[in-house]
Symmetry: C2
Subunit: 462 residues, 2 copies
C-alpha cells in the first residue's frame, strides 16, 4: 500500500491539502452501486489506511456496510487501528471472521492493544482468538498495565547493548541479529541489571568509529518513562524534551519496552482534541456518531447550563419590581452578563491551557491572578466608558450610564478572578479544569453581572 509522491487522492498544497478527494469518494460510491469489486479495489488501491478509515467515517452506515462487504479480503488491519472508536465496533461486526483474523494478525502488538481496549468482551474474544499463542500472551501482558498508561503505549521489542560495548560491537550485533524490530531508531544502553543508562541513535552509530565506546556517544537528553505513567505525561515529555524514542521501565527500573514519538504525537493530538471538546461542553463527540449518541453526549452540559441559567434568573427575579418601573434595565442587563461571560472564558481558557502545559504553577499563580484582575479592571474601565455613553445617549438617563459602567467594571474584574482561580482550584482537587471550569465561571459572571447591574440600578435610580 504505497502512497506515492503524487497520489491522486491528495493535493499536497492549497486549502484542502490531504483532504479526501470528493470526486474519488463519488466514484467509490458509484462502484458500490454497481457492485463492481474490481473498480472498487482499483479506486482504493492508492489510499493510505488512514485515508480509508476517514472514508469509512465520512460515508453513511449503509454505504459503509456495502463497502466492507465488497472490499472483503482486501481489508487491511491498519484501517481498523486508524478508525474512530465510534464506528470501530460497527466495522468489526461487519467483517467476516476470516477477514477480521487476517486483518488483526498483520498488526503490531501495540496496535492490537489499542484496538482491544475499547471493544466489548465478545469482540475482544474474537480478535484474541485470531492471534497466535505467543502474540496473545504478549497482548494480555500489555493489557495488564492500567488504561492510558505508558505500558499500554509501548512496544516490547527494544534493541539493547551493554554499557561496555563499542560502536563496532553494537553494529556487528545488529547485523547478525535474526530479527530486529520493524521500527527502531535507538540502541538502549543497559547495565547488567537491565536498567537503561542512556541511548545512542542509529545515525550517531553510523557516523562514529568502530572503536568508540557507546557510552561516549549517548544522547544528551535522556528520559526514562515509568510503565505506569499516564500517557498524557508521556506526550508532554516527548514534546518538552524533543524525544524521538524513550525506554520504558517497570517499578524496579528495569527495561520493559520503548515508546516512539509517533505514538506520543497521536496521544498529544487526542489530549488536545479532548481539551477543546471539554471546554465547549462536548464530552467525547465524534463526527461519525449517530444522532442518538450525539444527543446524549451534548445533553449533560446543556442540563448543567440550564441550572446555572435558572440560578441567574432567580437573581433577576429579585429585582422584578425594579425592572417593572424601569424596563430599560431589561434591555441592557444581558450586555453586562455577556461581557463578563466572555472575559471569564478568555481567562479560564488561558488558565486551563497553562495548567496543561505546566506553565501555571505554585511559583507564578499569584502573579497570574493579579494580572488577570488588572486586565479585567482596565478592559472593564474602557467598556464602562463606552457603555456609559451608550446608556446615556440611548435612554437619556445619566445615572443609567453610571450604573451600567460600574456593573461592567465589577463583572470584568470578577471574570478575571474567577476565570483563573476556579481552574486552579479544580486542578488542585484533581478535577479536570477543562471539563468543569466553564459552568462555574459562567454562573459567577451571570450572577454577579445581573446582581451588580440590577442591584445598583435599584439603589440609584429608584
Amino acid at each position: 500500500m504505497t502512497t506515492g509522491e503524487n497520489t491522486p487522492e491528495t493535493e499536497p498544497t492549497g486549502e484542502d491539502a490531504y483532504e479526501l478527494d470528493r470526486k474519488r469518494v463519488a466514484q467509490i460510491l458509484f462502484a458500490l452501486d454497481r457492485d463492481d469489486r474490481e473498480a472498487l479495489v482499483e479506486l482504493m488501491e492508492p489510499l493510505h489506511p488512514a485515508d480509508i478509515a476517514d472514508l469509512l467515517e465520512q460515508i453513511n452506515a449503509f454505504d459503509r456496510g456495502r463497502l466492507i462487504r465488497l472490499y472483503d479480503k482486501e481489508f487491511d488491519g491498519d484501517i481498523l487501528s486508524e478508525l474512530d472508536e465510534s464506528i470501530r465496533e460497527e466495522v468489526i461486526s461487519a467483517l467476516t471472521p476470516q477477514v477480521l483474523a487476517d486483518a488483526v494478525r498483520d498488526l503490531d502488538s501495540d496496535d492490537v492493544v489499542d484496538l482491544l481496549e475499547d471493544l466489548e468482551e465478545p469482540q475482544q474474544e474474537a480478535i484474541l482468538d485470531a492471534l497466535e499463542d505467543s502474540d496473545r500472551v504478549a497482548i494480555e501482558q500489555s493489557l495488564s498495565y492500567p488504561e492510558n498508561s505508558a505500558g499500554r503505549l509501548m512496544q516490547r521489542e527494544v534493541v539493547t547493548a551493554p554499557e561496555h560495548w563499542t560502536v563496532g560491537q553494537a553494529i556487528d550485533h545488529m547485523r547478525e541479529a535474526e530479527e530486529l524490530p520493524e521500527q527502531f531508531y535507538h540502541v538502549v544502553i543497559v547495565d547488567p541489571r537491565m536498567h537503561p543508562v542512556g541511548q545512542v541513535t542509529l545515525g550517531r552509530l553510523m557516523s562514529s568509529r568502530r572503536t568508540k565506546p557507546l557510552i561516549e556517544i549517548i544522547e544528551e537528553t535522556f528520559q526514562v518513562i515509568p510503565a505506569a505513567q499516564d500517557e498524557e505525561d508521556v506526550a508532554y515529555a516527548f514534546n518538552q524534551y524533543h524525544l524521538i524514542s524513550a525506554p520504558v521501565v517497570d517499578e524496579d527500573g528495569r527495561l520493559v519496552g520503548a515508546i516512539t514519538i509517533d505514538d506520543a504525537m497521536a496521544v498529544l493530538d487526542e489530549e488536545h482534541e479532548e481539551d477543546i471538546l471539554r471546554l465547549a461542553g462536548v464530552g467525547e463527540g465524534s463526527l461519525s456518531d449517530r444522532v442518538s449518541e450525539t444527543t446524549k453526549q451534548r445533553f449533560p452540559w446543556l442540563a448543567v447550563n440550564l441550572v446555572t441559567a435558572i440560578f441567574a434568573s432567580l437573581v433577576i427575579a429579585q429585582f422584578e419590581a425594579t425592572i417593572a418601573q424601569f424596563v430599560a434595565l431589561a434591555v441592557l442587563m444581558p450586555i453586562v452578563a455577556s461581557m463578563g461571560g466572555n472575559a471569564g472564558t478568555q481567562s479560564l481558557t488561558v488558565a486551563v491551557r497553562a495548567l496543561a502545559t505546566r506553565d501555571l504553577t505554585g511559583s507564578n499563580v499569584w502573579r497570574v491572578i493579579r494580572r488577570e484582575v488588572l486586565v479585567g479592571l482596565i478592559n472593564g474601565a474602557i467598556f464602562a466608558v463606552v457603555m456609559g455613553i451608550i446608556g446615556v445617549v440611548w435612554f437619556g438617563t445619566p445615572m443609567l450610564g453610571v450604573v451600567i459602567a460600574a456593573a461592567m467594571v465589577i463583572n470584568l474584574v470578577v471574570a478575571g478572578l474567577a476565570g483563573t482561580v476556579i481552574p486552579v482550584i479544580l486542578d488542585r482537587i484533581g478535577v479536570d479544569p477543562a471539563l468543569a471550569s466553564g459552568a462555574f465561571v459562567t454562573t459567577v459572571t451571570d450572577v454577579v453581572g445581573f446582581f451588580a447591574f440590577l442591584g445598583l440600578a435599584g439603589a440609584v435610580l429608584l
Copy 2:
C-alpha cells in the same frame, strides 16, 4: 546537559509529572538574592534547556534579568529556542553580545531560523552577525521561504543514496562520510535528477543483507512535502500517515531538505494551542505576557462581543412594551438565549475541529448539518418540556410555559444549524473558522432566542 533517569526537578509519576519543582525555583531565587553564582549554576545544572526556559517564563521580569546576568556564560542557545516568543526579545536584550553570539553559534540552522522569524530587525542583525558566513547564507536561504512553510521547518542536511544502490553500498557510504547530520533516521533514495523516490529507515538498513537493493526495502508509506506547504498541513501529514521523517522538495520536485517528526509535533502542539485560544477569543495570549499586552489581546474580541450584545439588546428593545406588561419575560429570557449559545458553541466546536482534521468535507457536510439540526430538535424538545413546566409552576401562567418551550426548540435547532453552517462557510471563503465562528453563532442564537421568546410572548400573552 544530561537529564538523567531520576533528575531531582521532576517527579515522573503522579499529578505534577514534569512540573518545575517549586522548591528548586525557590532555591534558585534565593541564590539570586545572595548573588551566589556557584549555587545558581549548580542548581540549574540538572535542568533541561526547555525547563530553564519554563523557569524564565514563570519568574518575574526583575528576577529574570538578575538570573540572566548571574548565569551569564552558562546560557545555552537551546534555552532561547525553547523560550516563549513573548519574552524572547526581553531575554535576548539582557544577554551580553558575547554570550548571545556563543549561544546562537551552538544552534542548528532550523532553530536559528525559528529564533530569527519573530525578532525585530536590530536583534536579527545581532544574531546574524554572530554566525559564520556559511551558516548565515544557509539561514538567509531558509528565510526566503514563506513564513510558516515547510521550507522554514526543514533541515537542509539529508543523507541520500541513488536508486540502484544496495544496502552494503549505502552502509559503506555512510561509514566513510566525513560528516553526517546530527539527527537522521532515514536514507532518502533519489533518482539522477534528485527527485526522491522512497526512503529506507536506518533500522531496516541494519537488518537487511548487504546485497539487497535499497529499492526493495523502502518504506510503505512515503510522503513528499513541497517546500511551500503550510506547516499546519505538514503536521497533519505526519500525524495522519505516521511519518517519522519526510523529504522536502522544491517546485521542480527536487530534494531540498527533510523534516523530522519532532518539529511536526511542535507545530501540531502550536496549532492546537492557537485553535483553543482563538475559539475562546484570546488572540496570541501567553502566560508571561504583561498586563498591557494581555489587555490589548483580549480587547478586540470583547469589543466584537459588545457589538453583538448591543445588537441583541436592540431586539429586546423592540419588545419593551411587552416586558413592561409582563416582567416575568425579563426574568426568563436570558435562559433561552443562554441555552442557544451553549448548544451553538457545542456544534461549532465540533465543526471547527472536524474541519481542522479534514473529517468534515463536501462528502458529508449535509449529513452533519442534518444531524446537528436533529440533535438540536431532540434536546430542544426535552428542555422545552422541562422549562415549560418550570414556567407554569414558577409564574402560574400556562401560556408562558408554552412560549418558553417553543422558543427553546426554535433556538436549539437554529443553534445546531448556525453552529455547523457558519464555520463551514468561513472555511470555504478562507477565514479561520476557529477565529470568527463564535461571534457569529452567538449573535444568531442571542437574536433568535430573544426574538422568538419575546415575539411569541407578545403574540400569545397580550
